[in-house]
Symmetry: C2
Subunit: 586 residues, 2 copies
């Protein structure tokens, strides 16, 4: 029994039938993606299952070690990363001009699930590189692109994001790192924390993207600039040259993702690290936003990935562990025969499939927003991306944590023993609700920026899409359709209530934001499983894979969608009880 069997058919089904691969394949430059999808998924599945997945417990056990300023990754990680680079996996979505493969985000995201499921700590490294590539592609000079993009896209160099400082977490406007001009370059000084893969031994160079303030910059978020600060300064031929004045001071001792070094980075201890300004000064935070949607999508995807892997582990244990007689069994039975274990497995399966489809739907909208020839269609897709991303990030990460937690429970006492391996998934998953903007920040973004700012325009578009599937379901799958209709009605009611009442009290949006996001995710998840069921109903009647989609959608509708009412009540309860206590009364 392999530790992770990539669910290639499930992923492919969600791409084709729920997210809409055909629509993506109709976009300019994506013509071959429908044909490529199957073979690419199969090839990625091999690397994920055979190379990355077996290293997952190794990485958790060994962690990373900092010695004399160098970070040693766990046994096997260097070799695995070399295989990953060799396969060209790092460059999937990027511009062929700089060595990328120009594939759609839908396919990159589908493949990405397998990297994250196989080895989330490993998978983080290419995600950071991806962010670096996006930043430079959008805002770098021609010279910067020519110098940095090819090795980053190939993956022989990796990238990092240096945002957080001890006093500046969610509030980046408070950061203090400094940049002073030095000829054509800048001298950077400051300390950054929580730098994922800030130092490691898997690449020949590390390109740090660093936020810092230039002299006389305005206070707050509008005085922050973005710099390229490479570990080794590239020589004219593009090869890594002299060592820059930056170093890894320490590594964090974390709950999970232990194979991913989380560094405290110090810049300029020797007088100033050499940095290169990206774009214009004081626009650094604005630039960061250009990569935020993809980064947040990827964190949501990590939630899907951990959920899938934890589900597989629980399923395997439930099929092999014998305890007690179950109704209909003559003697002691494997625990999968017990209804409460079934309930856990069905919950895991249904939420994982719903979360996967939602992440892929967001990726499809990303592709349409970037590539569709019709500007109005691009704009619509971009609105849906912007609306869905906080939901994908936060709701899918919560699905990942809940599913990993349930997987422990299915294992009973063995779940608490580290050697069993299932506890790692919960420990790893726990970070996804925190980094790349905590889930509370996502909820604030959803309600403040995505719902209230456009007065519900994008939300009404999303609700209209849901409604059209509700109608199909009410006709073809009435039990499911009825439950989905109730869920969508709850989301509509919460949306309308927020739009009508948000200005009543300055704390109202904040108090309602998390229940609203959970309501949105829960209902959108039911929408996804319903779409899957509608497609499955149209397929071969004797295909058990398709028949299972109908059962899963029914389970979601009966057992999970009814949570919507509780969230709606919490939204419309308003902020009174939330804010009534004085600080000292807690």
């Amino acid at each position: 029994m392999p530790s992770y069997a990539p669910p290639v058919r499930d992923i492919f089904f969600a791409m084709v039938e729920v997210a809409g691969l055909a629509e993506v394949a109709a976009l300019p430059g994506c013509e071959d993606s429908a044909e490529l999808a199957g073979p690419v998924l199969d090839e990625a599945a091999k690397l994920a299952a055979e190379v990355l997945a077996p290293l997952n417990p190794v990485g958790d056990r060994e962690g990373c070690v900092l010695e004399n300023g160098a970070v040693r990754t766990p046994t096997g990680f260097r070799e695995a990363y070399a295989r990953f680079v060799e396969g060209g996996w790092n460059g999937m979505p990027f511009d062929p001009e700089h060595g990328g493969q120009g594939l759609p985000w839908l396919l990159t995201t589908a493949v990405g699930e397998m990297w994250q499921a196989a080895n989330m700590a490993f998978g983080l490294c290419p995600l950071l590189t991806q962010g670096t590539v996006e930043l430079l592609s959008s805002h770098g000079s021609a010279e910067q692109k020519a110098l940095y993009l090819p090795p980053l896209i190939e993956g022989v160099w990796t990238g990092t994001m240096n945002l957080t400082e001890p006093q500046a977490g969610s509030d980046l406007g408070a950061l203090r790192s400094r940049a002073v001009p030095d000829g054509d370059a800048w001298k950077i000084t400051g300390q950054k924390i929580f730098i994922t893969h800030g130092e490691h031994d898997m690449a020949e160079n590390i390109v740090h993207m660093v936020l810092a303030r230039v002299p006389d910059a305005p206070a707050g978020p509008k005085g922050i600039s973005l710099f390229i600060v490479p570990k080794f300064l590239p020589a004219a031929d593009g090869r890594p040259g002299p060592r820059n004045d930056l170093r890894c001071v320490s590594l964090e001792h974390k709950l999970g993702i232990k194979a991913s070094p989380t560094a405290v980075m110090s810049f300029g201890d020797g007088g100033g690290a050499t940095g290169f300004l990206v774009g214009e000064a004081n626009r650094g935070l604005e630039y960061m936003f250009t990569m935020m949607n993809n980064a947040r999508l990827n964190v949501g995807l990590q939630g899907v990935a951990v959920a899938e892997r934890a589900y597989q582990k629980a399923r395997a244990y439930a099929r092999e562990r014998v305890q007690s007689r179950a109704p209909g069994t003559p003697g002691p039975a494997t625990i999968i025969h017990h209804a409460d274990v079934r309930r856990m497995l069905m919950t895991m399966k249904a939420e994982t499939e719903a979360a996967r489809a939602l992440a892929l739907l967001a990726a499809r909208h990303l592709d349409v927003a970037k590539r569709h020839p019709d500007e109005a269609i691009r704009a619509h897709a971009q609105r849906q991306v912007d609306l869905l991303i906080p939901v994908v990030k936060a709701w899918c990460s919560e699905v990942g944590m809940a599913t990993a937690d349930t997987a422990i429970q299915v294992h009973g006492g063995m779940g608490f023993i580290e050697e069993t391996g299932v506890a790692q998934h919960l420990r790893d998953a726990r970070i996804t609700a925190i980094y790349e903007g905590t889930n509370g920040i996502q909820a604030a973004d959803l309600v403040g920026r995505k719902l209230l700012r456009d007065k519900g325009f994008a939300a009404r578009e999303a609700l209209a899409s849901m409604r059209s599937d509700v109608q199909r379901a009410e006709r073809d799958l009435p039990e499911i359709g009825a439950r989905l209709a109730e869920g969508v009605a709850a989301l509509e009611a919460a949306t309308a209530w927020l739009l009508a009442n948000a200005e009543r009290d300055p704390h109202l949006p904040g108090a309602a934001s998390t229940p609203y996001l959970r309501l949105f995710g829960t209902v959108a998840g039911g929408w996804m499983t319903t779409r899957a069921a509608l497609a499955a109903r149209a397929g071969a009647a004797d295909d058990r894979f398709l028949a299972a989609k109908l059962v899963t959608a029914r389970f979601y509708a009966d057992h999970l969608l009814p949570r919507a009412g509780g969230y709606l009540a919490a939204v419309t309860a308003g902020p009174q009880a939330v804010m009534a206590l004085a600080e000292d009364d807690f």
Copy 2:
């Protein structure tokens, strides 16, 4: 800022105003408990805060070490345990005839929260001893009581429960350890796993309570006998004598409670460990049930305890961490000013107080069931104990896990760093949903044994108690009363539905059991916060402690009670979608 400040006033308030200390103080033998409660809580709070709480991170970091068959507990644990024994804390609830203090369970439980909050891994040891004392008090011979009870009650000896074997977890009927007669004693052979504090260095002797089969015992659960198997065989004078043939083979490497050694125990490698039969042969499982209610209450209490400690840690961080401006603040503010952080803190506070009161209510019923002079009142209280215990165990442990998880979230990135200390609470809490019968087993017990077996008699009694408080609330606190009425109505509907439909399908009770338990816990929790609010309303109007109880009840009513509808829907959805997939279709 101490790491744990025992919430003495909260605990006392819940004892007096919600659980009913006066009713307990009216019981024979409990006359002084109302007077004693305050001073005893204060004294326990000192030991918990000053001695046990500071050792909590030490224990997590160092864990226990097995060397040459001996287990070394973490630095400071031996000394702390000696202080605990010196203070007489081990003997609180036990018979004064054998050195106990004869105090009610209500007070023992209230004090127990502080031990478990201060140091859950430490607190486990006395819990196991307590179970041993109960078993021997109920089923031991006069000679066994005279020999074992005094040192166990004093705490200089500790006890363990040796139930689980690798093939026999939830299904104890499957166990294989053997006992053969040997003069007046028995020779025990077999291997046991998951033995909490199975070997350690804090006591001069360890009394193992071991389940094993005698020759020709019937197969299954009715062929299991209970034996006393001491680490050192007591000499005639009661002092520990020769070493018995048993040993700790290994310690588990666990997700949490690392300072509590979880041993694999081997009995009889040298030919047979000497054991002494308790009561009659083949009645061991039945005897185990006599201590199960207290043991399960204590695990629920651990959930309350971890919740309280995690809440305190999150509250402290929210008061000191500055990030971003909040509505109404001129500049960057401590995060407690942000509504979403408030929502998290209020959820933690409300659920913790609800869970505490529910655990104390169960303890009060225990006292009444044991001591009330009127047999009918004793029987009623015992029915309420039996009904509430699975809810307290499972729901309060889920509150503990959820609260610890939310506490991490309040800490943002710092929550993921082990040195912060908050992640330990989640890792520790995770076991409470598993041991002493998984929460799935609790749900099966609630629906199968406690609801369906008596055709809803005890449940209707509990609902009648809730209804009477609903009426008071509808009169005096109408907003809260209206929500509680909806919650109680949902619980009534689910109860009636289960009673009417349970026999329709053999999988129906199992499929409905966990949502039913969560519904019960959620509604009972709202009942508890409402009782607290009704009492607070009658108190001094300018007492902010009391005013906060009203706000907390309102928050629970508005934000948490509405979850009831989702659980009701899941109960009444029936088992179809839960059981529809074939095993291979997962």
